[in-house]
Symmetry: C2
Subunit: 202 residues, 2 copies
């Protein structure tokens, strides 16, 4: 059985949990309260020396970090990670886009505002970061004018990766109303079999 160490409400932790539910892979969830420093305990650092959740422990005990690496591992051999060369390349492109251009702006501002309550204190910082988040949303909107899902016409782990923080972007003060294609896509993701809400304990 897999074990997933994560914090409820964290998009990065939600990604592999959502995928495992959708693929019917059983797993045990272990709640780790990073806000109280639990990711820096010696026990946790033995699982992941970078001190970050999520961590996916395989049935043989080996531990993997990086949420999108977990998606690749778990989805291999399923339609959610296509084997066709170009389709796979598009999925990978979106996974790296998510970690480089989307998460650091969308998830980070949400963390500052929603978890740390720093909307006022860190106003300049937020003002500086937000255009990057909007640029990422704009890029997604453009793609979703072309196809129903990010990496083409089929649901894939690219959608799981981008859904995680996009659907709660408003908690960081992002207005999604200007992105009708994104809003329609969020609803399409929510209608996928096995979907569960991020607020629920995975």
């Amino acid at each position: 059985m897999y074990t997933l160490y994560g914090m409820t409400g964290s998009g990065n932790c939600y990604k592999p949990a959502l995928l495992m539910r959708q693929l019917g892979i059983p797993y045990t969830w272990i709640e780790v309260d990073l806000l109280r420093g639990a990711t820096h305990s010696p026990d946790f650092l033995a699982l992941n020396p970078t001190g970050k959740v999520p961590v996916l422990q395989l049935p043989d005990g080996r531990c993997l970090s990086e949420s999108n690496a977990m998606l690749c591992l778990l989805a291999e051999g399923t339609p959610l990670l296509p084997s066709e060369r170009w389709a796979r390349a598009e999925v990978m492109q979106w996974l790296f886009f998510e970690q480089y251009s989307h998460e650091p702006a969308i998830a980070t501002v949400r963390f500052w505002v929603h978890y740390l309550g720093k909307a006022e204190a860190w106003r300049d910082r937020i003002r500086e970061t937000r255009p990057k988040g909007y640029a990422a949303l704009q890029r997604m909107e453009l793609q979703l004018c072309r196809s129903d899902y990010l990496a083409g016409d089929a649901y894939s782990i690219a959608d799981i990766a981008l859904y995680a923080y996009t659907h709660v972007a408003d908690q960081g003060g992002y207005r999604l109303g200007d992105f009708p294609r994104i809003e329609a896509w969020l609803r399409r993701v929510q209608r996928q079999p096995g979907y569960f809400a991020m607020a629920d304990r995975p």
Copy 2:
């Protein structure tokens, strides 16, 4: 024939160029001067709507962005991207680590200092970012105590991805002398067949 749009001296652009040389894949290099805004021209945005280099144009004309997605596409089926499940997962883990925890600290400070000449003007910013870069180097050093290459005992695209900005980290003021395992690993990478220096036109 592949076409690679990039800027000489950019680590992200160097990655797919180095891999193609090492795999013996012929390609045409097109120099794009992002410092002069060339990535925001309408012609370039048609290739990549995010306005970033590198862009890899496939022989059929399709364009891929995200340097690490290019590495995955080009290395598929070769020993540089192992097919064994866990070995592949480790490679992917390092590729995402590179884009999330390494590049934004190591490459970004190098860009500010080396290309923009802002070492003095952006001192606070640099002081704030540098510990993140050292944490990433520390994580690599720990891994390189365990294995000769990042994802185990064989050279892979994880090494190419991390080599790109690590070997020029000193241009951003990082001291690599405290990381003997990294220094030995840099030399091992430089001895790989097909290696060429980043300063040379790819």
